[in-house]
């Protein structure tokens, strides 16, 4: 355990430092190139640059390469390749508007390195009841998991700071769970995701100086999914991600098809005169987590973001309880 301490500390410092240092020059470059979009939740005409994905992926690659130098594990390579592929897919979507099916299909392809490198265990572990062996089904699970986690984080990236802040809470919860189930090496491999998210949150929090874009959100989500698979903590990871899962579930159950947000006609949320957020009564608009939070009355963008963070902390606690329950069998 002690010999894992040095790589853990070095990789976490590098993960945080790379994103923290690289994001301000990235913001300047994006401003020069005029890669900016309107922040629709601000009263003034505020333009925010995007995507922050390049800084995020740089932090992840640097820190995971350091860990690979120490451990030479196929699991690290699988996480790196899948996450980098997800970044590339997101970057294409940032630059060019793609159809609703592009990201799920491309992310399914991005999951293949996990299978090719054999960086998984086909036993699916459940709390209280033990494990179930599903060798063939597990391959399908891998192919589905990366698009689901990638798009789930992407779909929650709707307010300033939410995607990165949510990722900080979910990924640190997942790391704690990996320590609880005594999967120490993957726990250390997972830590850079939390530190990268934390460093990016500094610039993404309200008022945002940069948005992660699809490249950033898909990088976050896909790395989270890859860690869940190689760490054998798929169920725990799903629990920690529940608020974002609820958002996707509500969206899909109301829209009843896979569709890009920009293709939706109805508006789920509108602004009051003092520019607070308010749920609409539009029956054509999708039901989302933000709309449900606002159903009780108008709130500021910051209040909604903190409501989502509270739900993420609650899910993180449930995930940690689930991790403890893995050691108990009935």
């Amino acid at each position: 355990m002690i010999d894992l301490l040095a790589p853990a500390i070095i990789s976490c410092v590098v993960a945080f430092a790379v994103v923290f240092v690289m994001t301000p020059p990235l913001i300047k470059i994006l401003e020069k190139r005029n890669f900016a979009v309107k922040d629709v939740n601000k009263k003034e005409n505020v333009m925010v640059v995007r995507p922050g994905g390049p800084a995020i992926i740089a932090g992840i690659i640097a820190s995971e390469l350091i860990l690979y130098a120490f451990f030479q594990m196929n699991e690290i390579l699988a996480i790196l390749i899948t996450t980098s592929a997800a970044f590339a897919i997101g970057y294409v979507d940032d630059r060019k508007v793609m159809g609703g099916w592009f990201k799920p299909v491309a992310l399914a392809v991005a999951a293949i390195p996990i299978i090719a490198l054999g960086a998984y265990d086909s036993d699916l572990a459940f709390p209280l009841f033990g494990t179930v062996q599903i060798p063939a089904l597990y391959l399908a699970l891998i192919i589905f998991m990366i698009p689901i986690t990638g798009n789930t984080i992407n779909s929650i990236d709707v307010l300033n700071g939410v995607a990165s802040g949510f990722m900080v809470i979910a990924s640190f919860s997942l790391s704690i769970c990996l320590f609880i189930v005594q999967n120490y090496e993957i726990a250390i491999v997972s830590l850079p995701l939390g530190f990268v998210s934390l460093a990016f949150y500094k610039y993404h929090k309200i008022p945002s100086k940069i948005f992660p874009g699809d490249s950033g959100a898909l990088t976050f989500g896909s790395m989270y999914g890859a860690i869940a698979i190689v760490g054998g903590v798929e169920i725990i990871a799903a629990v920690a991600l529940l608020p974002a899962v609820i958002n996707s579930f509500l969206f899909l159950s109301s829209v009843k098809r896979i569709v890009e947000h920009r293709q939706i006609k109805g508006k789920p949320v509108e602004h009051t005169d003092d520019f607070r957020l308010k749920a609409t009564d539009d029956k054509k608009a999708p039901v989302t987590l933000v709309r449900l939070i606002l159903a009780g009355g108008p709130m500021s963008e910051k209040q909604v973001a903190f409501a989502i963070f509270k739900l993420a902390i609650f899910s993180g606690i449930l995930a940690i309880i689930t991790a403890f329950m893995m050691g108990v069998s009935i």
């Binding site: 009841f129 169920i235 609820i246 159950s253 009564d281 939070i293 159903a295 009780g296 609650f314």
Partner: protein, 76 residues
């Protein structure tokens, strides 16, 4: 509304634990014999179909719970 969302999260968590129990105790031990080399394929196929049915049931239960928890607030 927020307390309703915490309740909905908790309900999802309980459903995951219960669903896991069903998968491990009922779905896991299923194995089909008598088809030679196709045994593993047929077993996996049946498990996949049962798993899909369970997912559909899980989603339907969640929809009911969502409507029950948020029935006062959901005007949309």
């Amino acid at each position: 509304m927020k307390s309703g969302l915490f309740g909905f999260l908790f309900a999802m968590w309980v459903l995951i634990i219960v669903g896991g129990g069903i998968v491990v105790t009922i779905l896991g031990p299923i194995s089909i014999f008598g088809f030679g080399e196709l045994d593993l394929f047929i077993t996996s196929l049946i498990k996949a179909i049962v798993a899909l049915v369970l997912v559909v049931i899980w989603i339907l239960i969640l929809l009911k719970i969502k409507n029950w928890i948020f029935k006062k607030e959901l005007k949309f």
